[in-house]
């Protein structure tokens, strides 16, 4: 343990394992521990000049403490002889001598050894090192007393049982001993358990931090790096920044995993945000989205979204405006979606054929599903497409517009 076996082996020229086995054998008789402790005291550790005992001689309190075991020894021997229990006397001498030697080692060992001892003796020291609040120390005293009483009672019950041969007595004795152990060591166990919980929490926090760091690295830092490389292409920079902003937002506020494959949108608001995402990603214009209220999608509302998407894509492609506004509102009876840009606009009277086709496809789609589409535009003032649809499918007049 303290390198005693190794040190002895070197001095005697034996194999350390042999020394260890011999030591353990001797320990079983009780004197082995005594020998071990004395060897620890008297033989200098490797790389040191003086043994622990040399330092101990200057430690008067330590010696006094060690000597304090003498009366304990006398008492133990007395009890042993009175009760006729020879095992007490045979164990008491080596154990108490070891304890005295141990106190000296405890107080005078070098720092490395001390640290080792502290770790090994944590359960015992936790009992001795109470915070000096008097309430707590008296409670500690009480606990020790209760434990001692239980222990003695338990031992007595256990040994008495040989004479009576009742099954109850030894059982009760065992229970009392266990209770004593629990009372003495319980608080320490509790503390260990608590430390374990605290440690687990700390680990969970650290893991969470690591995960956030990984996310930020995978998304935000990568995007920032891309933005730096493309600083000369403002359109792309805006596109990257918007896409990153969206992803971060959906992670922070909606708990979506960044980069997770999109599932089928089930609500009107989600559908509008999907239009925003796709138009920003594909056409590089900023899309400002405002949605008031929300509801589940049905076929009619999917048509509204599809028409809105078409209008948004048109605006992104043709208007020349750097920004679009999408406003969706779900009211009690109707759902509306507005797509607006401040781009170049057009004169609805003189639209070219392809433009007209697009406008018709938006109008036609809405009409077929029982909604309305109004397109307002004038050159220089931008375009706005207004789509409305009743929330009750029964109130959606199907028009006869041919496909």
């Amino acid at each position: 343990m303290a390198g005693v076996a190794g040190g002895l082996a070197r001095r005697l020229g034996w194999d350390p394992t042999v020394v260890r086995v011999v030591l353990v054998m001797v320990s079983l008789s009780g004197y082995g521990i005594c020998v071990y402790v004395l060897a620890w005291l008297l033989i200098p550790a490797e790389g040191e000049n003086e043994p622990v005992i040399a330092r101990s001689l200057a430690d008067r309190r330590g010696i006094a403490l060690a000597l304090a075991f003498l009366p304990a020894l006398v008492i133990a021997l007395l009890i042993g002889s009175v009760l006729g229990l020879t095992w007490i006397s045979s164990l008491a001498l080596p154990l108490l001598v070891s304890a005295g030697g141990f106190v000296l080692i405890w107080r005078n060992a070098d720092p490395g050894e001390k640290a080792f001892l502290h770790r090994a003796a944590a359960p015992v020291t936790s009992l001795a090192q109470r915070p000096d609040g008097s309430g707590r120390s008296s409670r500690f005293l009480l606990r020790t007393l209760a434990a001692l009483l239980l222990l003695v009672g338990g031992l007595v019950a256990l040994f008495e049982s040989h004479a009576r041969r009742s099954a109850f007595r030894p059982l009760a004795g065992l229970l009392l001993i266990i209770a004593a152990i629990v009372i003495v060591f319980g608080p320490w166990w509790l503390r260990v358990a608590r430390d374990l919980v605290v440690e687990r929490q700390a680990r969970a926090r650290a893991e969470e931090r690591a995960e956030i760091a990984a996310r930020v690295h995978d998304s935000v830092l990568q995007t920032l790096a891309l933005i730096q490389r493309r600083a000369d292409q403002p359109q792309q920079v805006i596109q990257l920044a918007r896409a990153q902003e969206r992803e971060l937002r959906s992670w922070l506020f909606d708990g979506d995993r960044p980069g997770a494959p999109g599932t089928q949108d089930s609500t009107f608001a989600a559908g509008i945000h999907r239009i925003q995402e796709d138009v920003e990603a594909l056409h590089g214009v900023a899309v400002e989205v405002v949605v008031v209220g929300d509801c589940e999608l049905d076929d009619g509302l999917r048509s509204v979204l599809a028409a809105g998407r078409e209008a948004a894509v048109n605006a992104a492609k043709w208007s020349g405006a750097p920004e679009l506004s999408l406003f969706g509102e779900v009211e009690q009876r109707t759902v509306s979606l507005f797509v607006r840009d401040r781009g170049r606009g057009f004169d609805p009277e003189t639209v070219t054929e392809d433009r007209k086709g697009i406008a018709e496809s938006i109008r036609g789609r809405m009409a077929r599903s029982g909604g309305t589409a109004a397109i307002r535009s004038s050159p220089g003032a931008g375009t706005e497409v207004a789509l409305t649809m009743s929330r009750e499918p029964g109130r959606r007049p199907r028009s006869a517009v041919a496909t």
Binding site: R249, V292, F327, E329, R342
Partner: protein, 221 residues
Amino acid sequence: MTADARRPRVFLVDDHEIFRKGVRAELSDDVDLVGEADDVEPAIELIKERLPDVVLLDLHLPGGGGHLVIEAMKAAGGDAAAVKFLALSVSDAPEDVIAVIRAGARGYVTKTISGPELIDAVLRVAEGDAVFSPRLAGFVLDAFAATPADQPVFDPELDQLTPREREVLRLIARGYTYKELARELSISTKTVETHVSAVLRKLQLSSRHQLTRWATERRLV
């Protein structure tokens, strides 16, 4: 109208140094920047000391929400209570926005706003007008959405928007500027301002149960 004739004194509260730097660069030609702070406590102290016309206030500060700064100024009374606030944020969380408006901010704009638009918003707040971004208009419409049957209206004056106010908010949410909105509704921009200020007042004074409940629900969703 020359810019110098009405250069407002502006104070900046934001915990992001980079963002403050950007705003400084954008605003310095048109306003007097009289100071900045990066947290609630220093902001309260410096604003009381310098009494700016307009404070640009970030919604989220290390020491708490931006509404704490506004509440401290209102509590201080006197000249400090007259300081106007324009909330500025990247946050989408509607309850935070509504909280800062209810505390007394004269408007809310997102940080993605362009330089000239920000200057315009600051000037308007300095003149006592309210500044509604499309997003804020959406939040307010949402907060004042039709009352369910089980929700009693305590004070119709404060707890409901008039159809006209609703129309104005809808147009703002659709991306209309005040000027475009005035043309659309054939009213003067001054009337638009009146409607918007009325909405702001309702938002701040309404004891309507639903406003708070709405915010909590939004947080849960």
